[in-house]
Amino acid sequence: MTEYMLILVSTILVNNFVLVQFLGLCPFMGVSNKLETAIGMSLATTFVLTLSSVCSYLAFEYLLSPLGLEYLQTITFILVIAVVVQFTEIVVRKTSPLLYRVLGIFLPLITTNCAVLGVALLNIKKQNGFVESITYGFGAAVGFSLVLVLFSAMRERIAVADVPKPFEGSAIGMITAGLMSLAFLGFTGLVNI
């Protein structure tokens, strides 16, 4: 149990995928203009990330590994992620048309979220087991969601600030992300995984 807690603390705070490992920056900058969309995006990403880390683990363990095709892992994982995203899209469309409309183009774009592929590959690299892979994926997603939601609330505030012309929009967003990453360095050493 402790082991899984450590994985969660590590992926959410210490090795946060966005602010410490710099993965998944495109949705982080792209979907953070409004709090509502950010919350929807983070829920969808949490679902996809957890599911895809499970599926990619199964695909690697029971398909690629027995056949000796480990070198195909990247391309297989991209396929697996695309399938999971498509599946999520169909489900969201039927169950919550509202969320589907709010998310719009960003739902298919989860496919290109490098954090999703990153988690799948890191799971293999770290030789995580089945439950560890789920925990790792879920932790990464929670870390991503936490940072995305906090960041979007902050961007709503910065949007009304008297920012100098050259720094308006994404530029000040990038600087804010940098300062946030500075703050997250405070967690260094909390857990060593």
Partner: protein, 348 residues
């Protein structure tokens, strides 16, 4: 956004930003005096040096942005950033550490967001965290040893020489790790009784530090009585820190005891002068309590389990980061209206 408060009564107080900032600076003087008394001239020199850079950096940005110079310089907000950094940085930190910290604080953390009132992060703490991460050696080995523990403490000019890099003092003879740092590293292979034999812990909690913290506490309480800020943030922060250290560090042989947490680091300076910054903290009373408690909890977690001996700067930055979201969810209900609903709204 210019939101004018024009509801009646139309009486207005004489408390301009400049007056408040001046009061804040003046109430730090007891703390500065205690720091100088116990740890030598370092902090005094740092405060002056940091204030000069802060005002110069502010003036530079205002010139570039073609804003009225005198109007903004006279609100003393840059001075407060400079003074707080001067108090927070290690007394014998080299001049370029202070320069980088203050310039980064004023130019990047404050003015890129549009200047006073817009910055989402506390400028002083951004500067502090930046130099702590970039120059870890200078930031951990520049803490002055209590002057009374030295055979011949540094004179004013020796300190000046050490900070600005002239003269030939062997700085190691005058520095010492902070009590929090020592306790954290010694307690792993020793018991409380042996650790506190170290003269740095003095008679009560930590030599010198206890008086510095009490001085900041006194200054903070004065500001509280003068209603410069409300009680919510500092009180909830100190309570959260105390509860955390009682819950997880009750055994002094295992972890740093509560009193050391409260009176040995930058706790009081952080609670009353840094966490209470009205721009970067949450706004509503409820929000301030969550914000303050978050700082207390994070401070304990990072101090106890992280790799940094003191954590006020990181805890404040992390909660600054969370403050807008806290504000979103703790908006007070307007009288006569139902509470606003939040969540995914119908996209128009």
């Amino acid at each position: 956004m210019a939101l004018m408060n024009i509801t009646s009564p139309h009486a207005h107080g004489p408390r301009k930003t400049a007056t408040l900032m001046r009061v804040v600076v003046i109430t730090t003087l007891p703390g500065l005096f205690a720091l100088t008394w116990f740890f030598g001239w370092g902090n005094l020199i740092n405060v002056v040096w940091c204030s000069i850079i802060a005002l110069a950096a502010e003036a530079l940005v205002l010139l570039i942005r073609k804003r009225p110079l005198a109007f903004y310089l006279k609100d003393y907000s840059a001075l407060v950033t400079g003074v707080l950094l001067g108090l927070a940085l290690p007394p014998l930190a080299p001049w370029w550490v202070s320069l980088v910290a203050v310039a980064f604080a004023i130019i990047i953390a404050k003015h890129l967001y549009g200047g006073m009132g817009y910055n989402p992060f506390n400028p002083a703490m951004v500067g502090f965290a930046l130099v702590l991460i970039s120059f870890p050696v200078a930031m951990t080995t520049s803490w002055a040893a209590p002057a009374s523990l030295l055979e011949n403490p540094m004179s004013f000019f020796e300190t000046l020489g050490t900070i600005f890099g002239f003269g030939s003092q062997a700085i190691d003879a005058f520095t010492m790790a902070t009590p929090l740092d020592i306790y954290k590293h010694e307690i792993g292979h020793s018991i409380a009784q042996d650790v506190t034999q170290n003269p740095v812990f003095g008679a009560y909690v930590a030599h010198g530090w206890e008086w510095v913290n009490l001085a900041f506490l006194a200054g903070g309480l004065f500001l509280l009585i003068k209603k410069v800020f409300t009680w919510h943030t500092p009180v909830s922060m100190l309570i959260a820190l105390t509860i955390m250290s009682l819950a997880f560090g009750w055994d002094a042989d295992q972890a740093t005891p509560p009193l050391l947490h409260l009176f040995a680091g930058a706790t009081m300076l952080g609670a009353f002068y840094i966490a209470t910054d009205p721009v970067t903290s949450a706004v509503s009373p409820q929000g301030k309590i969550i914000y303050g408690a978050g700082i207390g909890i994070l401070t304990y977690v990072i101090r106890a389990y992280g790799s940094y001996p003191d954590a006020i700067a990181f805890a404040v930055l992390l909660m600054n980061f969370a403050a807008p979201l806290i504000d979103t969810y703790t908006q007070p209900r307007t009288y006569g209206y139902a509470k606003a609903k939040r969540g995914a709204k119908e996209a128009e």
